[in-house]
Symmetry: C2
Subunit: 358 residues, 2 copies
């Protein structure tokens, strides 16, 4: 039976991507060898890296003043790399605290440079169920850090206040899902394991002229210029995760790129949030205006009465990965780029059936 995969990440990718990845593990481009047993210096692997980098720039509408890196270590490593590379010895950075990951990013900067990373605003008072707005941003910060989408809480930033500081954004859970002026950002990063590829690669897109100015000791592997100079192959890159990311970038372009990804995301979100709002048994947890099209969090008003029915029907329908994060509870439906509308329709049908049986 077909599974409808609502997992928060690592998560669903397109079926063609899985097929292409499996085929490459058997044999890569007619070489008589598996993709896994080829040197990363082989010209075919170098071509994979270059094509992936070019597609990222093109998709985001950015030019050669930006470098594209496929690193290891996850967004968690970026939390440290950012202040090492961008926070000067007497400078300050501003962080908008919109959830668990934003908090970790802020804490990691203060671990390196105690007191130099400021919390600009926080939505912790209501369990990160909304995006703070109208907060003041001091001028002269080395950079401002945003988290565009908060996987755990199902919130998404719809607008980003531009200031006189560098603008850094963790887009791990909504990259490549919407059209935006990406040139407003100086550094964008994203763990691959949502809309880009499997776990094991981290995308960094950085404006080259902002680097080399922190004046700090930087561990070699945390130094962006080292990786830029090494064309993202300073050391052995995560070849498989990179290749699957390329397959996803190709798939995305073939589907119609960001305009089509955005259209699909909005259609999925309209269907699910529409049902959450219509169905008297359910309630959404995120502020309506900040709802994420990627992750929809919702609760049953009466778990004792309906949870068993919902869970049984969901299982019967092949819906997987719907458990909410422990810090929110209830349910979370992650609807990344590769999730088909029919999967959302299947979830909506289960919600309606629970209502009919209530």
């Amino acid at each position: 039976m077909k599974k409808h995969n609502f997992t928060a990440g690592p998560c669903i990718l397109a079926p063609e991507v899985f097929e292409g990845a499996a085929a490459a593990v058997r044999e890569f481009e007619g070489m008589g060898l598996s993709l896994l047993e080829i040197s990363h210096r082989d010209k075919k692997v170098v071509a994979v890296m270059e094509e992936a980098q070019q597609r990222v720039l093109k998709t985001l509408g950015l030019g050669d003043d930006y470098a594209v890196l496929f690193l290891q270590g996850g967004a968690s490593s970026q939390f440290a790399m950012l202040p090492f590379n961008l926070l000067t010895s007497s400078g300050r950075a501003g962080y908008l605290n919109t959830g668990t990951w934003a908090t970790k990013a802020l804490e990691e900067a203060n671990k390196l440079a105690p007191g130099q990373a400021l919390e600009l605003a926080s939505s912790k008072d209501r369990n990160f169920s909304y995006i703070p707005k109208g907060f003041a941003i001091p001028s002269g910060l080395d950079y401002v850090h945003y988290t565009s989408n908060n996987t755990i809480y199902g919130t998404q930033m719809k607008a980003f206040t531009k200031t006189d500081s560098l603008m850094v954004c963790d887009m791990s859970s909504d990259i490549f899902s919407r059209q935006m002026d990406y040139s407003a950002f100086d550094l964008i990063y994203a763990g691959a394991q949502k809309n880009l590829g499997p776990a094991g690669a981290t995308l960094v897109v950085v404006r080259k002229d902002i680097l080399g100015k922190s004046g700090r000791y930087i561990p070699t592997m945390f130094d962006y210029p080292t990786h830029i100079k090494g064309e993202s192959m300073y050391n052995t890159p995560p070849v498989f995760s990179l290749y699957v990311s390329l397959l996803t970038l190709r798939w995305m372009d073939a589907q119609g790129g960001l305009p089509e990804m955005e259209r699909r995301a909005n259609a999925r979100a309209a269907a699910l949030y529409g049902e959450i709002d219509r169905n008297p048994l359910f309630v959404g947890t995120a502020a309506t205006e900040d709802r994420s099209p990627m992750n929809a969090c919702f609760l049953l008003h009466d778990e004792a009465a309906h949870k068993d029915t919902f869970d049984a029907l969901a299982k019967e329908a092949g819906l997987v990965g719907l458990a909410g994060h422990r810090s929110v509870g209830g349910y979370r439906a992650s609807m990344y780029n590769a999730l088909e509308q029919s999967s959302v329709d299947a979830l909506v049908e289960v919600m309606r059936e629970v209502e009919r049986r209530a």
Copy 2:
């Protein structure tokens, strides 16, 4: 035509491993989902991590006083993590400099703590073609760092001087290839992409009671205790690379474990080095007593006369990955655990044919 893969890394793994990996990308353990789209918190993925960790300990003959981690960032990240975690503010570490990677490890420690990492001895005077011996090791060092096998130069340490310091070893290119008393080491690390798995994972085996004593600021992702506490899932691990590593560990055990890996390595080495020494057209570049069974480096005495013939015959026979590293030149045959004896025999036959045609 079957390829005989002598690539230095990423490199050959067993055919069963490639098959198992491709199958898991299509569908993982009957779940109706690809391995790539499952949460790393899924109990089946947690089980993969736990089995891999247990197999590593068992294979190396180590107990629960050691932790096993599958990290990201390659051995290059370990070069920094080591001094962050083990080098005290006024302490010193000793490095045996046996090649490019050993040099980088030494330099990275001195980048963090200038002057605190000492070069105990070096074989740079003869292009790292031998392993220094009989050098003095000052007492009271925080740790001594060895590189057990030097991929580029084809040398391997056959013995490790034990001192009163902690013993750290980069085993990236010969781990799981020989029987040894691994409990002599306090920390072992290895990029997966030789004998363990594909690029994208780094194995760290560390005695837990040596940690938490450097007194330094440590970036969270560089802190071994953080990863130990998180059971190697503090953040999303490189799931695919981890799984392929587990398949390789299972394959290795099914073949007979380290005793059989060592027997095969010795048989491959005997065949190839025997031919290098017998065939008047070729000469080995590494000191005989330090030759690596994993990487055999050799030159043609007269490249102008025989290189074209060798290269053409090698291509015809399906031999790939034989180009020597640019810093040594000539040829390098990497013979990792999964390389069959028949591949070495095919190479030897080509060398004999070149001689016959000379």
